[in-house]
């Protein structure tokens, strides 16, 4: 049977791929069919019935959003009957819809208003008894059921794309509403995607509500600066307070919800701009500090251009560059390259979305990188993907999508990857030495020590035989593992000999970019000038820095995302002060603007010679991502060989794991107004018994040389003997493995 279906819409010859619906084909061919509830990234809600079309030879009307075409059929999208049907639907939508468009936050961006005007609904012949509907306050989200038109877009994205499955429709005909699922109030990760997709003003950010009309806001397209997923977003800014003061602030963040998603950190954590003023004394002090510095320590929450300037400063001043997080990522990737023969990992978020078999290990992904989580949820709900989630701690947020949870012991990632590689490469032709390597693996030892049973591996083999598009996702836990290099090589083996594509999750927004641009040195914790990091003299965009520089929403530049895509950041808010480029100019590395370096970024790492101003930043109307550019594929010599799996370490006693709560990533998300800042040490009942602490206790955590005070919170949803310690509010040595043996003392 042919996979292409040829048919006609309004007399125009069109063709559909297998699985495509009439509406999708119509949209791809620029034929307009009105819809109210359709959203491209979910399965059709089919609640509005606006998309009805006439099909020749079919009695009654056909819903174009969920009907695939048949060969040769003729579709009519416009007729008197259809017009009447749609007009009546619009009238029904308008029954008792409050006439408060003047104050509604949609302020003209309303689908209901647009369609009401489009169908010229000037009078109403339907009526229903109006009812009292209470406005609900769900924390960061407000819900006004009177405005809700029950299109069900919100429940669909929540369930299918985000995976929280936190809201549900309470069916009751005219009195239907959206309610929190199985709960009194909304308990979710507050991604705010329901706000984004709401076509009317029913679901609204409670912080934004009634503060501004849409037309007053100017829109700055940019990239989220909190994690490495590189989600596109739009900062919406307006003059705040007195207009003569000319100070703008960000009022809200929007995203192209039709095709892309955004987590709550991006959507609600936007006010991290640096408001410090220009200070000439600090500038000269910074110059002196840099001139006398032996090293510069910096974070990966910077742009490629800044990283490039730091690299040039290194060459000019002969300083060392410290950035443990990017260095470890870079070392992991170069070990990977030494076997795979190419510089960049092959997978992407799109590959995850389209996959039907996913293995993830080494990441508590729902909090580490929500973008990856949403892609996995999409794969699970749309492709029925088999998802194997291997981690020492089970994550309740992932329970809806994970088909197989493999609990391994902390510290044994090398063994797990070796077992996994052995399983996946069982019937594959390997070179003699490689086959010998796997034959010589002491499977019994590895399985016993890592706690991954042979039956679990057999299940993987079984479930993955039928999958066609497979992805292996490696999280940031493994970068600081003692044998990270060997893990990377084993991962590369899997990619080389199977059809798995690999996605490696960089820890921070631009860890990947920094590792590709800078020649980093091992941080010996010696004195260094800090650039967005701790040091003897700190240059940074957070409060308290000795010299203030702009935050990521105040400067132009590019970052490299998890997709190996170079994405442009734009200036949402002005910054009055000095930038790294000013310092570099004073030190003899001269360029007028920071973004003049964009076209000069390291081409050996795959950067293209494209000027910043030539970079696009949007997702087009067909859903194609045309933001920035993809790094060139760089091939290198595959001269690496696998190392013997060393003895697996044991983590006995009290173990904590560095993992942030939802929507928290770093000091920037810690500085914003709306996001919750839960700094408690969270542990299970089992942990509390083992560590002899109970809920609400003040505890002192001692790990390595660091001592930390936290409040212990008993989390009933957690299991196991490892507690979660947030790192967004403290500075952590990124070179240390995330699981730590520690001592916990109760203090009064």
């Amino acid at each position: 049977m042919s996979k292409i279906v040829n048919f006609k819409i309004d007399g125009k010859d069109v063709s559909a791929q297998k699985g495509e619906t009439i509406l999708q084909v119509a949209r791809a061919n620029e034929i307009y069919i009105p819809t109210m509830c359709y959203i491209s990234k979910t399965t059709p809600c089919a609640s509005c019935r606006m998309c009805v079309v006439e099909a020749e030879g079919v009695d009654g009307l056909v819903l174009s959003c969920n009907t695939p075409p048949t060969e040769g059929i003729e579709i009519k999208t416009n007729s008197v009957k259809l017009e009447q049907e749609r007009t009546n639907i619009m009238k029904l939508y308008d029954v008792n819809h409050p006439l408060e468009c003047g104050v509604c936050d949609k302020s003209g961006e309303c689908d209901l208003q647009n369609k009401t005007l489009e169908f010229d609904i000037s009078q109403q012949n339907f009526s229903a008894k109006d009812q009292v509907r209470k406005i609900e306050n769900w924390g960061m989200i407000n819900y006004d059921p009177a405005l809700c038109i029950m299109c069900e877009k919100c429940t669909h994205v929540c369930n299918e794309v985000i995976g929280d499955d936190a809201i549900d429709v309470k069916y009751g005909g005219y009195s239907s509403t959206i309610i929190p699922k199985n709960a009194e109030t909304l308990e979710c990760t507050f991604c705010g995607e329901c706000i984004a997709v709401c076509p009317v003003g029913a679901l609204i950010s409670s912080d934004f509500q009634y503060t501004s009309n849409a037309w007053e806001l100017s829109c700055v397209p940019s990239i989220c600066a909190h994690c490495s997923a590189g989600c596109s977003l739009e900062y919406e800014t307006k003059y705040s307070g007195d207009r003569s003061s000319l100070s703008k602030s960000i009022y809200r963040v929007k995203n192209n919800f039709e095709f892309t998603s955004l987590c709550g950190a991006g959507r609600f954590g936007f006010d991290f701009a640096n408001s410090a003023k220009s200070d000439i004394n600090a500038f000269s002090e910074a110059l002196n500090a840099l001139k006398n510095a032996k090293a510069i320590r910096f974070s990966s929450i910077i742009t490629n251009e800044e990283a490039h300037i730091l690299q040039l400063l290194k060459e000019k001043l002969g300083v060392k560059l410290f950035n443990e997080d990017a260095r470890l990522y870079g070392e992991f990737m170069s070990a990977y390259s030494s076997v795979s023969g190419k510089l960049h990992h092959s997978g992407s978020l799109d590959a995850i979305k389209q996959a039907d078999g996913i293995i993830i290990l080494g990441s508590r992904v729902a909090t580490d990188n929500p973008g990856v989580r949403y892609a996995m949820t999409t794969a699970s709900t749309h492709n029925g993907a088999k998802i194997v989630y291997a981690h020492p701690i089970e994550d309740v947020l992932m329970k809806n999508v994970v088909t197989q949870f493999i609990k391994y012991e902390a510290g044994v990632e090398e063994g797990v990857v070796a077992l996994l590689a052995n399983t996946l490469l069982t019937n594959i032709d390997l070179s003699e030495s490689e086959r010998k390597y796997f034959d010589e693996l002491d499977l019994g030892y590895l399985e016993a020590e890592s706690n991954v049973g042979a039956d679990e591996l057999a299940t993987i083999t079984k479930t993955f035989t039928r999958t066609q598009r497979r992805v292996l996702i490696i999280g940031s836990d493994v970068f600081a593992h003692a044998n990270a290099a060997n893990i990377a090589k084993l991962v590369a083996m899997i990619e080389k000999y199977t059809d798995f594509s690999i996605v490696v999750i960089p820890e921070n927004v631009n860890s990947a970019g920094v590792s590709l641009i800078c020649d980093l040195d091992v941080d010996d914790r010696s004195d260094a000038v800090g650039y967005n990091a701790e040091g003897t003299f700190t240059i940074g965009s957070l409060e308290g820095a000795d010299l203030a520089v702009p935050a990521l929403n105040q400067q132009e530049g590019t970052v490299v995302s998890i997709d190996n895509r170079v994405l442009p950041l734009n200036v949402a808010l002005a910054f009055e002060g000095y930038t790294l480029n000013d310092l570099a100019n004073a030190l003899g590395v001269v360029k007028e603007n920071t973004v003049d370096y964009t076209q000069e970024l390291n081409s050996a790492s795959g950067f293209k010679a494209v000027a910043f101003d030539d970079l696009e930043n949007y997702v087009d109307k067909y859903g194609n991502d045309v933001r920035g550019y993809l790094l060139d594929e760089i091939f290198c010599e595959a001269d690496g060989s696998l190392d013997e799996v060393s003895d697996l370490p044991e983590f006995n006693g009290v173990v904590i794991y560095h993992s942030n709560p939802v929507l928290q990533f770093n000091s920037y998300t810690n500085s914003v107004k709306q996001l919750e800042k839960d700094t408690t040490l969270r542990g299970s009942t089992q942990f509390s018994a083992a560590a002899k602490v109970s809920d609400g206790d003040n505890v002192e955590i001692i790990f390595g040389k660091q001592t930390l005070r936290r409040v212990f919170k008993l989390d009933k949803e957690l299991k196991g003997t490892i507690a979660l310690n947030p790192t967004f509010d403290i500075s952590v040595d990124a070179s240390k493995y995330k699981f730590l043996k520690s001592k916990i003392v109760r203090v009064i």
Partner: protein, 204 residues
Amino acid sequence: MMEQFNNRNISDNGYFLVDIVDYPTTGWGKFKRAIDRTFKLELFVGLWVVLREMIKFDIHTISYPEEKMPIGPRYRAVHEMKRLWESDTERCIGCGLCEKICISDCIRMDTRIDEESRKEVSEYTINLGRCIFCGYCAEVCPELAITHGGEYENASDQREHFVDYEAMLTPMDVMKQNAQKEFEGFGAITPHEDERVKKTPLAY
């Protein structure tokens, strides 16, 4: 009807041309005019008119500021903010249309959500130094909340007085006397609006 305006034959309508002597151009002509004005006592002709009217006590001027002329309802002077008849609260709903339409960019408002989940206007200023009194804000206002009043005496010892929202609001004592003036000018509801409105059917 239009014909009388289209008819430009002025002589038929009782109009006549005034015979005005041309201004002198030569030196002699100017000298003659000066002599004429000096010795024909034209000055006293004017003085006599004033004296005659003064004696008659039929004076047409008004003694401002004790007396003031009434101002037409469509006159556009300093803005007024109306209150609701039912509750005496401000009529402004904070829709922001006046701010948007203002062509001299002199209106500025801030809104927020109040305790009852309603939109509340937290700041409202009109910079009367920039305002050109075009009336667009009053025309666009969907609630007839902002109107132009008849207050044209814009002098104060405090700049702030020109932008004071409280001063623009109808005073409460006026509300208590039911004396708030409804605006009947530009944008106001026409007298027979009720007859034209199609009501929502209430079948239940």
